[in-house]
């Protein structure tokens, strides 16, 4: 019985350790981006390269937002220098879909940076 309890606890700990990071954990916000909501974020390895698809919703007035991705290898190191910021205009209550492709095949992790611009 004790053995069963031990196995159950081990399984629970392992499962909680390997849980996928949340959208909030994968997003870095800079400046005033409170009106920007990330409604979906998913990734898949396609032809050996990590691809990320994100849905961004603007909940307030017409908004100019910029974004870029940071790409990391399995050791958590950035694989390239910073990407250029990409502008995006999202009208109020509209959703835009962003697709980003990793720059190298050794990318295993990413973070989305969001910022507003004038």
């Amino acid at each position: 019985m004790n053995k069963l309890f031990f196995i159950f606890t081990l399984f629970f700990i392992t499962a909680s350790c390997s849980s996928a990071p949340t959208i909030k954990e994968l997003t870095i916000r800079m400046g005033d981006t409170d009106n920007i909501e990330i409604t979906d974020m998913r990734s898949v390895v396609r032809n050996g390269i990590l691809t990320v698809q994100t849905k961004i919703k603007n909940t307030k007035d017409n908004s100019l937002v910029s974004y870029r991705f940071n790409w990391f290898n399995k050791n958590g190191l950035k694989v390239i220098e910073d990407e250029a910021w990409k502008p995006l205009t999202i009208p109020k209550d509209h959703t835009r879909e962003i697709t980003a492709i990793a720059p190298t095949a050794d990318v295993s992790d990413f973070k989305l940076e969001l910022s507003s611009y004038k």
């Binding site: 390269i49 910073d82 250029a84 990409k86 502008p87 611009y117």
Partner: protein
């Protein structure tokens, strides 16, 4: 009285001169640039990044047994603006080279310097034989990258709307088949 007016005039002149001195500061080269609606660094970066990443994911590049050898061909500028398309293709080349999945053979415009260097090493008689880069060993590119950038501009007295479309293709040199193609669209609006 005239003297005082003259002094004030001189002071005003010197102060107004001070205010025209340009202020210089360094900015983030990756930030969004919106000084005018004409083709700018943000457009260049967006196009190069989108094209390089898309090409990297193409099966012809990602799944072959050998590293694909590519060369840069012409990207035509079909817009009325002056755009140095060579900068775009070179930026794409840099990003692809950094990925380690492709190799680039010298392009037509770089051929002269390659030829000159081979001639210098092989014909000048100045170099040790074992260190000379031999002629006839260059690698031919299996693919070439070519494309075009076009634009549509519409304007009235208040608004200027510019739409850019950048097309790029990867052509198999031997078969003439287009193995990959993609496009990037950018639309900008300038309001007075």
């Amino acid at each position: 009285m005239h003297k005082i007016i003259f002094i004030f005039f001189l002071l005003f002149l010197s102060l107004s001169n001070c205010s025209t001195i340009p202020r210089v500061s360094y900015e983030d080269s990756k930030s969004v640039e919106t000084v005018t609606s004409s083709f700018g660094s943000t457009d260049l970066n967006q196009i190069a990044e989108a094209m390089a990443r898309s090409l990297l994911q193409a099966k012809v590049v990602s799944s072959g047994p050998n590293v694909a050898v590519i060369t840069l061909a012409e990207v035509k500028n079909k817009t009325p603006e002056y755009i140095d398309t060579r900068v775009i293709t070179e930026k794409i080349r840099t990003q692809l080279t950094k990925s380690g999945q492709v190799k680039f053979a010298v392009s037509v415009s770089e051929m002269q310097s390659q030829e000159d260097e081979l001639k210098r090493q092989n014909q000048s008689g100045l170099y040790k034989n074992e260190s000379i880069a031999k002629s006839g060993n260059m690698t031919g590119a299996k693919f070439r990258i070519e494309g075009a950038i076009s634009s549509i501009t519409k304007q009235n007295k208040d608004i200027k709307d510019i739409y850019y479309i950048f097309n790029l293709s990867l052509v198999n040199t031997e078969t003439g088949l287009i193995e990959w193609a993609d496009e990037k669209e950018i639309r900008k609006i300038e309001q007075r």
